[in-house]
Amino acid sequence: MDRTPGIRPRPGLWQRLDAASRVGFPAVLAALGLIFLSAPLGLPGQAELQPTWVLACVFFWSLFRPNSMPPVVVFLLGLLANLLGLAPPGVPIVILLATQGLALRWRRTLTRQSFARVWLVFILIAAGAALLEWALTCLLAWRLYPAWPGLLEFLLATGIYPALSMLLIRAHRGLAAPEQA
């Protein structure tokens, strides 16, 4: 946000590079996180953490820096998640795009709310995402999968969002802030 309007010199090359890398930072962070979480870390619930991470990233940046998370980037992140894991084709992409659509629609009111409200909305979105993933996976495979992996994913997303958002808020104020370029 430009808080000090006025005439100023044209930004130099380094300044523009800096600004561009700050704008690109959220997408790169989300993609690297996805790749890192598919390494054999041996974390409990790692398989569920990966979709949670990218869901939280898309939700957070769509709310607070939509310029850094345009729909095309969300599509590509979904495609990356799709190709890294064994989810049925297209399902993660649909979930992420739907999340972004909701976040963009609600951002005018939601960005002014307290953290707890934002968390509550994320919980609802995570529940919807887990349900949609389960339903689409069952539909595409045409067999009934047990629902507990989805439930586990939802619980993990609910529990871990505060920690993830602390990380993302730091990035929001520091590395991903183009106005600091």
Partner: protein, 334 residues
């Protein structure tokens, strides 16, 4: 760049999201129509990322090594005591095994037993723990000139890990026995009952399609069965374990599936059932595969099953005694 009016740009911006959602539904249909498309994309990405995953796994391995070293130092005394006791027991079993081996050799000579062909294998490092919420698989980094084929069998030091489902130039994907789509014909080692090991994404797959009246004992060993020509008989899979919440017995895999580091890929030259696909793809082939699996009909003719079991039982008992193949250093490498 084309200069658009503000209204046109706003309209375009508003259209992007619905268009992309439509595109992803299109991708879903495309993935259904052309099963190979997504697999090719996945393999290309795994191939591209395999070196990066390899780099990542080096520091991870050293951290893991350090933590296990620390653990070892702490538990040194107790462990030495336990090992000494175990050694005494194993010496006894070693003598028993030597005697049985000699006896087995004699019996085989008497029966003109046709020896099984020795399997060749390659060893590969697990570089990525992929899968997802509804799938369990690992990615192996293999050299550019590997000869791994689809359907080959992966084992770690202790037991069965899974089967190879996707192959790239530098990577191969192994679907674990815990995956929801995994169905493996198994034999219970002491009762010789056959069953199907059904993965359900939890750490312990279930035993299903047991013959009527068979209740596997807690701790009974489960080994693969040669039926359907997908596996050789007698590969160690796990131990029967009952949990309070479910009447169906579960199997605790011998393989350390949570922390796989090195995996051996065996080529037994089998061409039975193809390994299952990822969820959401080719349900038709999956279905027919499941129907061809042994014991898939729980109400099968018990008498015929018992007769078959008896003959299979003998055959695989002969094989089982010889079967520590995967663990034996004498197996020829490729």
């Amino acid at each position: 760049m084309i200069r658009l009016s503000i209204q046109a740009r706003q309209a375009l911006a508003r259209l992007t999201l619905p268009l992309l959602i439509a595109a992803s539904f299109g991708l879903m249909l495309l993935g259904r129509a052309d099963v190979g498309l997504i697999e090719r994309g996945r393999v290309a990405l795994s191939d591209a990322l395999a070196p990066l995953f390899g780099l990542l796994s080096a520091p991870l391995d050293s951290i893991r090594g350090l933590s296990s070293d620390l653990h070892d130092v702490v538990a040194l005394r107790a462990e030495a005591e336990a090992l000494r006791e175990e050694n005494v027991r194993l010496r006894h079993w070693y003598a028993v095994a030597l005697a049985l081996d000699a006896e087995n050799g004699e019996l085989k000579a008497d029966l003109h037993w046709i020896p099984d062909p020795a399997a060749s294998y390659v060893t590969a490092r697990v570089v990525a723990d992929t899968g997802g919420v509804y799938a369990r698989s690992v990615l192996l980094s293999v050299g550019p000139n590997h000869a791994i084929r689809r359907g080959e069998i992966a084992l770690d030091a202790a037991g069965l890990v899974g089967r190879v489902t996707e192959i790239g130039r530098r990577s191969a994907r192994v679907l674990l026995i815990t995956d929801m789509n995994s169905r493996i014909p198994v034999t219970l080692q002491s009762s010789r009952a056959r069953a199907l090991l059904v993965g359900d994404n939890s750490a312990e797959p279930r035993l299903d399609y047991l013959p009527d009246g068979v209740r596997p004992a807690e701790g009974e060993r489960v080994v693969t069965s040669a039926e359907a020509n997908a596996f050789p008989a007698g590969l160690p899979v796990g131990e029967v374990h009952y949990v309070a919440s479910s009447p169906l017995p579960e199997v605790e895999p011998f393989a350390n599936l949570e922390r796989l580091e090195l995996v051996r890929i065996f080529d037994y030259g089998l061409n039975g059932i193809e390994p299952p696909e990822a969820p959401g793809r080719s349900a038709a082939t999956l279905q027919s595969g499941a129907e061809r699996q042994p014991g898939a009909q729980p109400g099968a003719d018990a008498h015929a099953a018992a007769a078959g079991r008896a003959s299979i039982g003998h055959a695989s008992m002969g094989h089982a005694a010889e079967e520590p193949q995967p663990a034996s250093p004498a197996a020829p490498s490729r």
